[in-house]
């Protein structure tokens, strides 16, 4: 590697000569070594203009970025709405981040420009323009890294890189980079470092096909950047150009060619179509490991390296050794908090390991990879696996870092984010840390808790990934409805802010945004189920419902001809009705919509009797719900109408057996005389062919779901059912067994016990005797367990 890096040719092609009008400084994003040498270069070159790679339309944010009050990490958040379909016909919205850390050379260059009061600016194409010039699935439009502006992937994905890693015996590109550029770089003179950077980046570029650079917009970006560089060079004497190393050669070629090129035309988008904001960012998000390949990984570790360089005042020889030692001690301390016993002997052994590895690997100082090796050797006791690798996970967290940045007071505040922050302050929600917080809300007794709950629901509706309800009534999915407290976990992430920025056009406050968005959403809804769900969501969010909203809802119910959608709507309105009473809420119309849905369903009900078996369960649920509604207060007046519909249903030919059973059960609930109908129906199944008999089991499932007391009263039903079951051949019995199991699952354990006792008596046995005679074959049991495991595994994989 050293031999390759001593390659002088490219360095001679792109001179790093301080007498030049334009001086190129190649960087890798977030690299402390690049920042270190860049500052030395600025000191010596004394530029009167600094140009930095980055979308040109973010120039307005430079004062915010470089303000002393701003605490990094922050990011520029770009969005572009392709309403004019310039990218493709999908007219989608696009967004991306450009993170800045303390280690970022771009940031340090701009800070220097501010301090020296010289001109500076970003020179790349605006974000939307880059997208327009990028082919599908290439460059910034790559699916995996859609939200990442920078293009370090050139450096780490080239064929050249693979060869270099193999040749140098490094495990990864990151390890190679750390050793040859970050650590060794600190021991080099700036011109030597820049020569190495240029050589490496040039060789990477040489191994990248031109078609790829064309397809991902790289070449057109360089053309635009070159135009900007030449323009600045006309009015300045010393222009320092700070760009990703990959572009240096391309830019140098374009600017030194002395050839008049046709000026690139760019679109003039308004701020609704394309804009950029400064937003807080976190190390966690910046860490390439976490999904954004925004330059170097492990920002927490290299931030400490950078601070060490800054504090060292020119003496950088001890920086890595000190940071590695500090990080090791922190890892030991954090492991201790997790009840792992890390002794002084472990620590001292780890120190000798990383020092020894540094020597055996011919490194000038131990780095992050030696640190990982030493923790693995000395802190992990026993086999390395998921249960023993906690120290490595802790180290990884420390290396990632947990800091969140903040913006200066002069930064343009996005009103909706401001409102969010104010509410967090008001309700004392901790959002200045990346750690997830948990809060229990007593929503019925504490008004403030109700407000917090509403805020969380609003944030969830806006898809901010801010809050998640971990316990509490799940109204939408009909789970745990009896819970009166809610437990939420919440965490402010980068996505929280970006999602709020995305919706900021809909209002200045979160409540207003939710109201506007829900009003827009209801306009597009066509199904009663979706519209009613939105109604529930609005209730949970504490959003007032407008008259327009209700008119639209009414219209949707009238036009919806889908039985199941109306059934779901009925569930939501019923739920809202209960909640309204519970919360003593005013201004929510539920009875009207309940009745409206109910009446539409009643008309369709008889025709559902021959419904496809897979929808029968849903149908039964709706029938039961309607039964509960008419036997309660809300729709009592509709009692006769519903039972007339049920009667019509059982007269239909060829009914779906489970629905038939369920409806008969409901009728039996209102009138005992229907017991005879049930007996006849069961006998019908009993005397039919084998196939009809099998339907008997399905019939039972439906029947038990609505009238299980029929089994518990007297013996007659048990005798008939027993006859049905005992007449099956083994093979047929096995076939209907799942249905039967499902049917009996409607009974409580004590009811099952009582049924079992009655069945045992039919055979002249007591229930104790039945229990005693259970014989279990170990092989069969083992096979069952294995099967269950396999099935569960298969499900979890799906």
């Amino acid at each position: 590697m050293e031999r390759i890096l001593r390659h002088k040719e490219i360095f001679e092609i792109i001179p790093f000569d301080f007498r030049q009008n334009i001086l190129y400084f190649p960087i890798r994003h977030h690299s402390p070594a690049c920042s270190y040498h860049l500052l030395r270069t600025i000191e010596e070159y004394k530029p009167d203009c600094i140009l930095v790679e980055g979308p040109e339309n973010s120039n307005k944010l430079i004062p915010v970025l470089t303000d002393e009050e701003t605490k990094l990490p922050i990011a520029f958040y770009y969005y572009y709405k392709d309403t004019q379909q310039l990218i493709n016909e999908d007219a989608e919205d696009y967004k991306c981040y450009y993170p800045f850390l303390n280690t970022s050379p771009e940031y340090n260059a701009l800070v220097q420009a501010r301090k020296r009061n010289i001109d500076c600016g970003f020179i790349d194409l605006p974000y939307g323009e880059i997208l327009i010039h990028t082919e599908k699935s290439k460059g910034i439009l790559r699916e995996k890294e859609v939200s990442n502006y920078n293009d370090d992937y050139y450096l780490s994905e080239s064929r050249f890189f693979n060869a270099v890693c193999e040749k140098t015996g490094m495990r990864s590109f990151e390890e190679f980079w750390e050793n040859y550029f970050e650590i060794n770089g600190l021991y080099m003179e700036t011109d030597e470092f820049v020569a190495n950077m240029m050589t490496y980046c040039y060789l990477t570029r040489e191994n990248t096909p031109k078609e790829l650079m064309e397809a991902d917009g790289c070449l057109i970006r360089e053309k635009f950047m070159a135009e900007n560089i030449l323009k600045s060079a006309e009015t300045h004497q010393r222009v320092l150009v700070v760009t990703g190393g990959f572009h240096t050669y391309g830019l140098y070629q374009l600017t030194s060619a002395n050839k008049k090129e046709k000026k690139l035309k760019i679109h003039n988008f308004n701020e609704k179509v394309q804009n950029v904001y400064a937003m807080i960012y976190s190390f966690e998000a910046a860490d390439a490991l976490n999904g954004y390949a925004s330059g170097m990984q492990n920002p927490g570790f290299y931030d400490k390296v950078w601070k060490g360089i800054a504090e060292g005042d020119g003496n950088v020889s001890e920086v890595y050794e000190n940071v590695v030692m500090d990080t090791l001690l922190k890892c030991a301390k954090e492991s201790g908090k997790e009840k792992l016993l890390i002794t002084m002997s472990d620590i001292s052994s780890a120190v000798s390991i990383y020092r020894g590895l540094c020597s055996i690997r011919n490194k000038k100082a131990p780095g992050l990879y030696e640190l990982y090796d030493s923790v693995q050797s000395c802190f992990v006791k026993g086999e390395l696996n998921a249960s023993s690798d906690l120290p490595l996970r802790i180290l990884s967290e420390i290396a990632t870092g947990s800091e969140i940045g903040s913006l200066c007071s002069t930064a343009e505040k996005i009103p909706v984010i401001q409102d969010f922050e104010e509410q967090c302050r008001k309700y004392r929600l901790k959002v200045d840390n990346v750690a997830e917080q948990e809060i229990e809300l007593d929503i019925f007794s504490k008004p403030a808790h109700m407000e917090i709950s509403r805020l969380f629901y609003r944030m969830s509706y806006l898809k901010t990934e801010f809050a998640k309800r971990t316990k509490g009534a799940d109204i939408i999915n009909n789970k745990d409805r009896s819970r009166i407290r809610e437990t939420w976990s919440y965490k402010r992430t980068v996505n929280t802010d970006s999602a709020l920025i995305d919706v900021s056009v809909y209002g200045a406050a979160i409540e207003e945004v939710c109201r506007t968005m829900s009003a827009r959403q209801i306009k597009d809804e066509q199904k009663c189920s979706d519209a009613a769900k939105l109604y529930v969501e609005c209730f949970l969010m504490g959003i007032d419902i407008s008259e327009k909203f209700e008119v639209k809802l009414d219209e949707i119910i009238i036009n919806d001809g889908d039985f199941f959608s109306l059934g779901k709507g009925l569930y939501y309105f019923n739920m809202l009705d209960t909640l309204k009473k519970m919360y003593n809420a005013k201004g929510i119309v539920t009875e009207y919509f309940l009745e409206k849905c109910f009446n539409k369903i009643i008309i369709m009900l008889p025709s559902m009797m021959d419904v496809n078996a897979e929808y029968a369960n849903e149908c039964i649920k709706i029938c039961r719900m309607m039964y509960n509604l008419v036997t309660g207060d809300v729709l009592h007046k509709e009692y006769d109408t519903l039972f007339d519909a049920f009667r019509l249903m059982i007269e239909k030919d060829d009914p779906e057996p489970s629905l038939y059973g369920a409806v008969l059960g409901l009728l039996y609930g209102s009138e005992n005389a229907y017991k005879e109908n049930i007996r006849q129906a069961l006998n019908g199944y009993l005397t039919g062919s084998e196939e009809i008999k099998k339907q008997g089991a399905v019939f039972l499932r439906g029947l038990f779901s609505t009238a299980r007391d029929i089994v518990l009263v007297g013996n007659e039903f048990i005798v008939t059912t027993n006859k049905l079951i005992s007449e099956f051949e083994t093979e047929d019995f096995m076939e209907i067994l799942p249905e039967l199991r499902l049917a009996f699952s409607y009974f409580t354990p004590s009811e099952i016990d009582s049924i079992a006792e009655k069945v045992a008596l039919l055979y002249g046995k007591s229930k104790e005797e039945v229990k005693k005679n259970i014989e279990l074959y170990s092989a069969l049991y083992a096979e069952g367990i294995r099967l269950e495991k396999d099935i569960l595994k298969e499900f979890s994989e799906e």
Binding site: G169, R171, L341, T343, S345, D346, S349, S352, I353, G356, L357, S359, I360, R361, Y369, D373, Q376, S377, C378, V380, K381, G382, E383, L384, N385
Partner: protein
């Protein structure tokens, strides 16, 4: 070199070790034969040949798959802690410990073999009872154990299969590892044996194999642990099979070319059966038997030696039978799994790739 079935590492690679020693200008820990860097070169190989005795000696890579692990092992042994190599059976833990011992101490044979029957005196020392009766407890009557030898000579003691030894017997190492002293009370004032520099212990242990014991936390604290995983890269596994079979063939005068296609076929087969998924994503029911690279080497060598003595060339039917014998040991289910593998994955490859895979598939009748 005399003809041994499996010559020890220091004999097998004597020339490489001598060449490295003669050219080694790195700093050596006390009593080490080579510097840590030279030990690394010995195990991980070098692109550059070394001039020695007028010859150019190439240093071959001997351990594949995880260079960083080897480096950590070397540095651990230069420190005060022992080295414990853990992992599934057949992942070359023993080979690595032999290579390390041979390069560091010049011998890989100072070894305690752990079994369920290992006793404390096998680890520390025992007595020649005839001499003990004749002369009483004197040094002359003491039978030194490999641990004793390691301490007195300042060399590495290898403790194979340490977890097969009962936990209370394993714990007899604790004081030796902490204080670097072995107490022999019978010898009274001469009874303290202090470890010389260069002494250390390399343990190997199967964590998940049948019949292994737990290791106490106190003992664990005296070791740095390194987990040796099966080789994930099929290319490397093929290379290991080729290297090992070549070495064994050489030692046993089998002068037959090693068929690289067969090595590749075997590497892929073992890799797929171990991982439970084929190259093209088909799911495979994994056999319960250990599908280690060492087993693959053994299957290939068996087939090669059969070909050398009885046939002209490698016979795939013989290979399949050896594979059958290696896989189907513990349970009948493994035979069914192997058959299923042939009927799905190998059949697919036979149809798609033909050639050796077709020949291999045609031997499925030998799976019994």
């Amino acid at each position: 070199m005399e003809n041994f079935i499996k010559p020890p590492v220091e004999i097998r690679y004597a020339e490489e070790l001598e060449a490295l020693k003669a050219n080694d200008d790195g700093r050596k820990p006390e009593n080490w034969q080579l510097s840590p860097k030279a030990v690394r070169t010995f195990i991980l190989g070098s692109n550059k040949a070394i001039k020695y005795n007028g010859k150019s000696i190439g240093i071959k890579k001997k351990f594949f798959g995880n260079d960083a692990l080897v480096e950590r092992c070397i540095i651990t042994l230069a420190g005060s802690r022992g080295l414990m190599l853990v992992g599934e059976p057949g992942t070359a833990k023993t080979m690595l410990s032999e290579l390390l011992s041979a390069a560091i101490s010049g011998t890989s044979t100072n070894t305690v073999q752990g079994t369920a029957g290992t006793t404390e005196d096998m680890i520390k020392y025992s007595w020649n009872y005839a001499l003990l009766l004749a002369k009483g407890p004197v040094k002359e009557a003491l039978v030194p154990s490999p641990l004793y030898v390691g301490m007195t000579k300042g060399i590495i003691t290898r403790f194979e299969e340490i977890t097969r030894t009962p936990a209370e017997i394993q714990d007899s190492l604790i004081s030796v590892m902490s204080d670097k002293v072995l107490n022999i009370p019978e010898l009274e004032e001469d009874g303290l044996v202090f470890a010389k520099s260069g002494f250390n212990i390399i343990g190997t242990a199967n964590i998940r194999d049948k019949g292994v014991n737990e290791m106490s936390s106190a003992l664990k604290r005296r070791f740095n642990f390194e987990t040796v995983n099966p080789v994930k890269d099929v290319r490397l596994e093929k290379q290991i099979i080729l290297n090992e079979v070549e070495q064994s063939a050489l030692a046993n005068n089998i002068e037959m070319p090693i068929d690289t296609d067969v090595a590749e076929l075997l590497a892929i087969t073992y890799h797929e059966l171990r991982e439970g998924v084929s190259e093209n994503g088909m799911k495979i029911d994994k056999p319960s038997a250990v599908m280690s690279t060492a087993e693959a080497v053994s299957v290939f060598y068996q087939t090669l030696s059969n070909a050398w003595y009885y046939e002209e060339k490698i016979n795939l039917a013989e290979l399949t039978q050896n594979l059958n014998n290696a896989v189907c040991k513990d349970t009948k289910d493994d035979l069914e799994r192997l058959k299923a593998y042939f009927n799905t994955v190998i059949k697919f490859k036979a149809e798609k790739l033909g050639g050796i895979w077709k020949e291999f598939y045609d031997t499925k009748k030998y799976l019994k």
